[in-house]
Symmetry: C3
Subunit: 360 residues, 3 copies
C-alpha cells in the first residue's frame, strides 16, 4: 500500500526521512523537538538558561532546526505512520469461527486464557482472550439454530459469558449469582440454546466485567435472520469493534497503523456493524461517502437515515450501509481527535475504507 | 430475594463464605488479595523482599491462597453484593407526592434543606434535598392543571427551581437574574402556572447548579396528556433518574445493591421514563428483553424504535416500553462498566427488571 | 440588556454589590468565601486553629459574614456575569465570508496563523486561526457551485484542510500522506471543486488535528441545496459551533458572558445548525421552547422529531428549527452543568435565545 499512497510524493521527502533519522541522533528526543515545535518558535532543542544555546552560537554538534526543519520532522513521523498502514502484527482477532456440527447443533468451543497481544507493531500487552484472539472469534449463526458454547476457563479468576442482545432464557443470561454460579478457574461451562432474535450482538464476560472485558473477553455474535428477504444486499459485511480500555484505543483489537482497512470495489455495498465494548463514546467519521443507518442493537430502524459521523456508546451496536461510490483510500476514524491523532501522527481508532476500481 | 436467587447454589459455597471470613482475619485487606488475584499468580498476600514469604515457607499464620481460593474470595464479594439486593437503606427518593388541592389548584409544598442521605447501606453523604428526598418527590399532574409550587429555602445558599422541559411563561423559568431574583436563604417563592405541555420532565435548581443539582436538588415532573387516547397502555410506569455526581453512581438516589428493582408480571407492559441529572452519558442496557423507544424529552418519536442499550445524555429524558415476555430476574445497568462493577462486585448504576409469573 | 434583565431587582441588591465590593478588600479571596459557603456554615473567612477567629471575637478588621451575606456575595458574582452578557470582546469568529468571484468560481482566500484570541473579556489565549477568526470565516455556497479555497500557511507547522462532510474527489480530501502532502509553513495550497452535497458541513485541519483543531483551525461550510423547494422556511439561520479544547468551553469561540445571543421576533422560525468541533459530547438544552430536529450531518432525517435537549457528539452536525412562540430571554446551554456554571456564576457554553415582541 505504501506505493499506492506515496508514489506521488516528491523524492525529496523520502530523502528528508533519511536526513531526519540522522539528525535524530543529535537530538534529545522527538518529543522535545515537538514540544519546541508547539511553541511555534525557531530554536534548537531546549537547553535552559544556556548562553551557548543561542542559534547563532550553536556548535556543530547541536544542529539548528529551522521552523521548516521542525515541521518536516513532525511530518516525517506522521508519514511514517501512514506508510506503515496496515502494519503487520502477530495475532488477529474477530476471525470468523467455524463451529463443529454435532447432531444438528453448532458447537463453539471457547477457551479463555491470558495471552500476549500485539496491539501495534512492537507494543504487546497482557490480554485475556477467547481462543487467543482479541476480540474473540466472530460467531455467526442463523435465527433458530441450535447453538452450544462450551467455555473452558483457564484464567485465574472465575468468569461467565453474557450474550449481549440475545433474548435467552434467564438461566443462560450469564450474570453470576443472578442467573448462574461463576465458572471457576479450571472449570468448563456449557451454554446451549435456540438462537432467538437476529441482529448484530456481542458476547462478553459479565463477571468482574470492568476488568475482564477491558482485558479482552469480548466478541461479536452475529445472527442472520431466518427470513432474509428483507435483509439489505451487501457485498462486504464487516464487523468493527471499538475499544478504549486497558489496551488503548483500538478497532478490532489493534491500534493504527496496525488496524485493518475495509476494502470494497467501486459500486459495491458495504455493511458495517459497529460495536462498542469500551467505556467511552466514539463518533465514527467516514470520509468521502455517507453511511445509511439501518439497525440499532440488531433491530431495524423504522426508516433508514444518513450521516457521516455516527456516535456509538458503550454496549451499543449500529448497522450501517455504505455505497462505495467514491474511489480512493478514505480515512475512517473516531472524531474525538485524541483517539485518532497526536503530534507523533495518527494513532488508535483510525482505519481506512479503500474503494478500489470495479475492474480490479 | 436471596432465596429466589441462590436456592440452587451448592452449600459448599455458603461454607466457603464462612471460611473466607475466617481467612480474612489473617489477610491484610481484601483489596490486597484482589490485587494479587489480578496478577494471576498464586502467592500469599504481598510481602515485599521477605524470604519467609515464599509459599512453601509460609508460617501457619499466613495462609497460602491458591488461585482457586483467590477466585473464591473475589466471587464471595460479588455474591455478597447480589445477595444483599435490594438492600435496605434509610430514606427513599422519587416518592409520588400528593398535592393539596386549594380552589382547583394543585399545591406542592417543597422545602429544600441539607440532609444526610444513605446512598447504600452504611454510606451516608451530605445531600441537598427537596422534602428530604433524593431525588425530590415525584410530581405528577395533568396537562392544563393549575399548579402551585411553594419553595421554602432552608439552605445556606440562594436557589431557584427550573422546570426543565415545561414551556412556561418566561418569568417562571427559574433562571436567576434572567427570569427572577434568586430565592435567598430563609425565603419562600411561589411558582404558579397552567401546565403547558405533556411528557416526562424534571425540576431542579438552576442556581449554582453544577453544585446544587449535584448535591441532590432535582426531581421528576411528569405531565399526563389531557387527551390520553394516544397514550400507550402500561401496567407499570416507572421513573428512573440517573446520576453520577457528588453521591456517586446512582439510580433514583441509591447505589447497587440499594437500588430498587422494577417489577412486572409476565405479559405486562412496563413504561420506563429515563432521566439523566448527572454530568455523563449513561447507556442503559436491559438484559433478556428489548426496549421500544416512544418519546424523547416528552415528545413522541415519529415512529417507535427498538434497542437494548439506550444512551441517555445529561438533561435528556427518554420514554420506553418493555413488554415483560421473559420470566426471571434480569440485570439492568449502565454499560459503562466502571459505573456498574469493580473487582469487589456490582455497584452503582445496577438494578434488575424482575418478571414474575403471571399468576403471582 | 442589563436594564431589560434587572429593572425589577430591588435597589438593596445593587447596594449590596457596593457593600460586598468593600468587604472583598478584607477577605482573602472570593474563592475562599465560596469554599466556606459550600460548607453550609456561618463563619468568617477561613483561619485555621486561630482562637481569635471565633465569630464573637472577630476584630473589626475581619468582618463576620452571615449565611445571608455569603449567599449575597455568591449571588452578586452570578448577577455580575449575567449583567455582563453579551460582553464585548475583541474579535468575532464565524463571520460570513464574501468570496471573490473569478470566471464563475467563488474564491475563498484563507490564511492560517497564530493570533491572540479574546475568549471572554480579559482572557486572551494563543489561537491558530483562519483569517484571524475562531471559528474561521463562515463559508456559504450552493450545491453545484465551483469553489476555490486558497490556503496560505503562516503557521510554524504544516497543515491541510479537510472539508468534513463534503463528498469530494479523493485528492481533495485533505488527509496528509493519504490524499495529499502536508502544506508546509510558508506554502499555499489550492483546493478547487464543484460543491457536491448540500447541508451543514465543516472545514478544519486534518494534520496534527488534535492540536491544530483544538487551537482553532475550524469553521462552518454551509451548502445550500440547488433545489431549495424542500428547504424549511427560516427567518433566522444560525450556526453554533461547540468547542471544549485549548480555549475552554466555547460557543463560536467565546465563553459566557461573551457569547452571542440568538435573536428572533415572536412568531419567527429559527434554524440552528449545531456543530461540535470539541472532544466531548454537549447536550444543548433550550429553555421555554422545543427544537424540531430536521437534519443530521447535512442529511434530512426521515421524519422531523422534537426535543429540548440535543446531544451533539464530536464531528456531528444537527440542524433544528425553533418556532419562536414564547417571548422573553431564554437560557440556552450545555446541560453538562460544569460546562455551564460554577460557584462563581454561569460560564462557558451558555447563551440565550431572545424572543422579541413581533412589532420591534
Amino acid at each position: 500500500m505504501s506505493d499506492q499512497f506515496f508514489s506521488k510524493l516528491p523524492s525529496s521527502r523520502r530523502g528528508f526521512l533519511r536526513r531526519s533519522a540522522a539528525l535524530a541522533i543529535a537530538l534529545p528526543t522527538a518529543a522535545e523537538v515537538l514540544s519546541s515545535c508547539s511553541e511555534g518558535k525557531a530554536s534548537k532543542a531546549p537547553v535552559r538558561n544556556d548562553p551557548s544555546s543561542h542559534p547563532t552560537m550553536a556548535p556543530a554538534s547541536a544542529p539548528v532546526l529551522s521552523a521548516r526543519d521542525k515541521a518536516d520532522a513532525m511530518d516525517a513521523m506522521h508519514e511514517k505512520g501512514v506508510k506503515a498502514f496496515p502494519a503487520k502484527t502477530r495475532g488477529k482477532g474477530n476471525v470468523l469461527m467455524q463451529p463443529r456440527v454435532m447432531g444438528g447443533v453448532k458447537v463453539f468451543d471457547l477457551t479463555c486464557s491470558e495471552v500476549d497481544w500485539e496491539v501495534e507493531a512492537g507494543r504487546s500487552v497482557k490480554a485475556w482472550a477467547y481462543n487467543g484472539q482479541v476480540p474473540g472469534p466472530q460467531i455467526r449463526v442463523r435465527e433458530g439454530d441450535r447453538v452450544r458454547v462450551n467455555l473452558k476457563n483457564e484464567l485465574p479468576q472465575s468468569t461467565v459469558i453474557h450474550f449481549h442482545g440475545l433474548e435467552l432464557p434467564n438461566n443462560l443470561d450469564g450474570v453470576p449469582f443472578i442467573t448462574q454460579p461463576p465458572i471457576k478457574p479450571g472449570e468448563t461451562f456449557t451454554y446451549e440454546f435456540v438462537v432467538p432474535n437476529p441482529g448484530s450482538h456481542m458476547y462478553h464476560s459479565h463477571h468482574n466485567a470492568a476488568y475482564q472485558v477491558g482485558m479482552g473477553l469480548l466478541g461479536a455474535f452475529i445472527v442472520e435472520p431466518k427470513d432474509a428477504r428483507n435483509e439489505p444486499k451487501a457485498d462486504v459485511d464487516y464487523v468493527m469493534i471499538l475499544n478504549d480500555t486497558m489496551h488503548g484505543y483500538t478497532l478490532n483489537g489493534k491500534s493504527f497503523p496496525a488496524t485493518e482497512p475495509v476494502v470494497a470495489k467501486l459500486g459495491q455495498t458495504v455493511r458495517i456493524r459497529f460495536m462498542n465494548e469500551g467505556m467511552m463514546i466514539h463518533p465514527m467519521h467516514l470520509h468521502g461517502m455517507h453511511m445509511t443507518v439501518i439497525a440499532k442493537d440488531g433491530w431495524d430502524q423504522p426508516a433508514p437515515w444518513k450521516c457521516d459521523t455516527l456516535n456509538i456508546a458503550p454496549g451499543e451496536r449500529w448497522d450501517v450501509l455504505v455505497k462505495a461510490t467514491n474511489p480512493g483510500t478514505w480515512a475512517f476514524h473516531c472524531h474525538i481527535l485524541p483517539h485518532a491523532e497526536s503530534e507523533h501522527g495518527m494513532l488508535g481508532m483510525v482505519t481506512a475504507l479503500i474503494v478500489q476500481p470495479a475492474g480490479v
